[in-house]
């Protein structure tokens, strides 16, 4: 291990928040690569620029992705991080672990890599940060043995993720953990063998609080909801009142649809079910008194992504309500995704996310392509321009001649 000074980084070891510098240093005790990373990083801090390059594609046999090739720009100076690739491993649903599993991850990574990790990456994977090219296959083999698999990278289905859902949350309207697991397994080929115009992400949130931020962070957002009316426990309402909770001000007045009424005399809360848009606010405010309806499922939204190229997009509704039952193995959802990807694969340009493809070609073409009926829930409001395309076959064209001849 090199014992060079890192005065700038050292400054980031003080303060209350845990320090990544300390962590790199801990790794550096066992890994020369981690030690060199510290040097490279110190230099970045001094020079205020990065020192990493992307380069040739690296990977494992049988897969098209899962590893991000990374090289330092001065391999002579920093030979141990000359190759310093990232391994992405599929995380267990909801990032639940037993310590045995976690220790396995540590042990394998200690053996072959830098000993640095992100728990977790922004997409959700277990990110193992920094290994040499020749270690990639062995790492994969050992992780595979231990029950792990690689995550997504490249123009493929990226590693789906989900909120804690039924594992620990009273708001879960469908089984996010199982959905994520089951659906990830279903689309192993799409995930491991990039074949699309660009990446595609799915995130599963159990309710409209959207704790995975799926609407912003995934091409397909699966957000739990219900079809009937939310349920109110009037006794519990009274308890909130007794504790001086301001039901009128904090709940009713902030309900976006104004569909909640609090009767101060009877201390009862009532809802106009058909006007509720299931935004979750009242449930969030009074979790003991208000909860979702019984007829549960999910809203499917499409198109979310970040800034590059056409601007950031948020996903928008394409199926207002879909049952998401474990029993049927999520078949309707899987069918839908297949139709969506097929359409995108056929029409998308290279490096065009599906939201951008739909924006470019129009919802009409998209909905026809995936065989979904248009419903007003798909839009905040209808078009303001009158630029409607008409299927010419539906019209009586007998009176018009394309050569301009008179009627």
């Amino acid at each position: 291990m090199t014992e060079k000074k890192t005065p700038l980084l050292d400054e980031l070891e003080s303060g209350k928040w845990p320090s990544f510098v300390t962590e790199i240093k801990r790794a550096a005790v066992k890994s020369e690569a981690a030690g060199e990373l510290l040097q490279v990083l110190e230099r970045s801090y001094a020079e205020r620029r990065g020192h990493w390059k992307h380069g040739g594609i690296v990977g494992v046999r049988g897969y098209g992705g899962g590893v991000i090739g990374r090289y330092v720009d001065e391999p002579q100076t920093y030979p141990h991080v000359a190759e310093f690739h990232t391994i992405r491993l599929l995380q267990p649903s909801g990032w639940f672990y037993n310590t045995k599993t976690l220790r396995t991850v540590c042990d394998i990574w200690e053996k072959h890599g830098s000993g640095l990790t992100n728990m977790h990456g922004s997409t959700g994977d277990i990110i193992l940060l920094g290994c040499k090219t020749d270690q990639i296959q062995p790492i994969f083999d050992e992780f595979s043995e231990a029950g792990f698999d690689l995550g997504g990278s490249g123009s493929c289905l990226r590693t789906p993720n989900c909120c804690v859902g039924p594992g620990r949350c009273e708001n879960a309207c469908y089984d996010t953990l199982e959905a994520c697991y089951n659906i990830t397994n279903e689309f192993m080929d799409e995930l491991h063998r990039p074949m699309w115009p660009y990446k595609s992400k799915i995130k599963f949130s159990g309710c409209a609080n959207d704790c995975t931020s799926s609407i912003a962070r995934s091409d397909c957002s699966v957000i739990g909801t219900w079809r009937d009316t939310l349920r109110i426990d009037q006794d519990a309402v009274k308890e909130y009142v007794a504790k001086k909770f301001d039901v009128q001000g904090m709940v009713c007045d902030k309900c976006p649809t104004g569909c909640l009424t609090f009767n101060a005399d009877t201390q009862e809360l009532s809802v106009v079910g058909e006007d509720c848009t299931r935004c979750m606010h009242c449930i969030n405010m009074m979790p003991k008194a208000v909860r979702a309806g019984k007829e549960k499922g999910a809203t499917i939204l499409i198109g979310g992504k970040s800034t590059i190229v056409q601007s950031a997009f948020m996903s928008w509704v394409i199926v207002p309500f879909m049952k998401m039952e474990t029993e049927d193995d999520f078949e309707p959802f899987k069918d839908l995704m297949r139709r969506i990807w097929e359409w995108w694969d056929e029409h998308g340009k290279s490096r065009e996310r599906i939201g951008e493809t739909i924006y470019r070609l129009g919802m009409t073409k998209f909905l026809k392509g995936i065989e979904v009926e248009p419903v007003p829930q798909m839009v905040f409001r209808p078009r303001a321009n009158p630029y409607v395309f008409w299927d010419q076959d539906d019209l009586d064209r007998s009176g018009t001649a394309l050569d301009g001849s008179k009627l």
Binding site: T299, V317, G362, V379, P382, W390, G404
Partner: protein
């Protein structure tokens, strides 16, 4: 020889004495009855304006009739409104009722103030324009006849501003109306290659198409239209008479609702399409009058007091509007143009 650039007649010569005297000194107004505005000045002076509906396409004899009335009751002064109504300006309160009686006797329509439907801003249509997809005056007449009860009363939740444009050029500026009646074509232009060859600047014609549906056809010295890309806006026809766009069997009317231009309460907003097509059933467009009446009656029944059409729909949600109105929703109503993205429901909250 004509004087050039002398500008409009000076408005000051057109103002009745009471306005000259109280110019900019008005204090408040009241609406004593439908069609009558009472403006009171700081000085205490009161001006009554009596609003009378006009078909807008009128003969000079109509104008002369107005002059006779104005001479008798208004010292020879009157004005027109931004919605092309006539306003008789009565400075002598004693003349107000006689004027109203006279107007009534002669069959003039008094109304259009306050919570009413006023005249429909409209255009030329088949009377005088070359690109219309429907008539203007006829549709307006049919609709106003049907809705007359809301012109001479003030029983609506709020003002209702309607606009009609006979083609997408939108000369009626219908795009921000509570209810917009818009003439639409539905078939691509039919190219008259001879006309194009004769007088059309091909690059400008190609550039005129919003969707890039037109490409040059150098061999033919004309153009080719990609029918799949055309959404029949007629802009190419404006550029060249060789791109004939009218089509009697398929032209008709689209209905958009919920626009406004005032800043009161909510920001000005565009009208949004709720019915993509109704046929040109001249002379009385029953499908159109019926569709509009239904929307208005739904609004009356459901809106809160003071709520414009768009404010009401935005409060309840467009999805709820479609179910209340029992109007079919279709892909044609989903935007697919430049600013489409902002209309997509990027939220998991909605009504069923």
């Amino acid at each position: 020889m004509a004087v050039l650039d002398q500008g409009p007649p000076h408005y000051k010569k057109m103002l009745p004495p009471i306005i000259q005297e109280n110019y900019g000194q008005w204090k408040y107004h009241e609406i004593p009855q439908p069609g009558v505005l009472k403006h009171v000045a700081e000085s205490g002076a009161a001006l009554y304006s009596v609003r009378v509906g006009s078909p807008r396409l009128v003969s000079i004899d109509f104008v002369r009739d107005l002059c006779v009335i104005a001479d008798e009751y208004c010292d020879g002064f009157l004005r027109f409104t931004t919605r092309n109504n006539v306003e008789f300006l009565v400075s002598d309160e004693a003349k107000l009722n006689p004027l109203l009686d006279a107007l009534n006797a002669k069959g003039y329509c008094v109304g259009g103030t306050g919570q009413s439907i006023s005249n429909i801003v409209h255009t030329q249509g088949w009377v005088h324009c070359h690109t219309p997809a429907t008539d203007a005056s006829g549709v307006v007449k049919a609709v106003m006849d049907d809705l007359y009860e809301y012109f001479n009363t003030m029983v609506l939740p709020a003002k209702l501003k309607m606009g009609l444009a006979c083609c997408l050029n939108m000369c009626g500026a219908a795009h921000c109306s509570d209810i917009a009646i818009v003439g639409v074509h539905r078939t691509p232009p039919r190219i008259n290659h001879d006309v194009i060859r004769k007088g059309t600047e091909i690059p400008s014609l190609v550039a005129s198409c919003p969707t890039g549906a037109i490409r040059p056809d150098p061999k033919n010295k004309s153009v080719i239209v990609n029918e799949d890309k055309c959404m029949y806006c007629g802009n190419c026809y404006t550029m060249s008479p060789g791109m004939e766009i009218y089509d009697p069997k398929n032209d008709g009317i689209a209905i958009l609702i919920g626009g406004k231009t005032s800043n009161a309460r909510s920001a000005p907003s565009f009208s949004r399409m709720v019915i993509p097509f109704l046929p040109n059933t001249a002379p009385r467009w029953p499908e159109t009058t019926e569709a509009i009446r239904k929307i208005i009656e739904l609004w009356i029944a459901n809106a809160q007091k003071g709520e414009r059409v768009g404010e009401w729909v935005e409060r309840i949600g467009w999805e709820k509007f479609f179910s209340l109105a029992e109007l079919p929703f279709s892909d044609m109503l989903i935007d697919d143009y430049i600013f489409s993205r902002e209309t997509f429901r990027t939220s998991a909250s909605f009504k069923y």
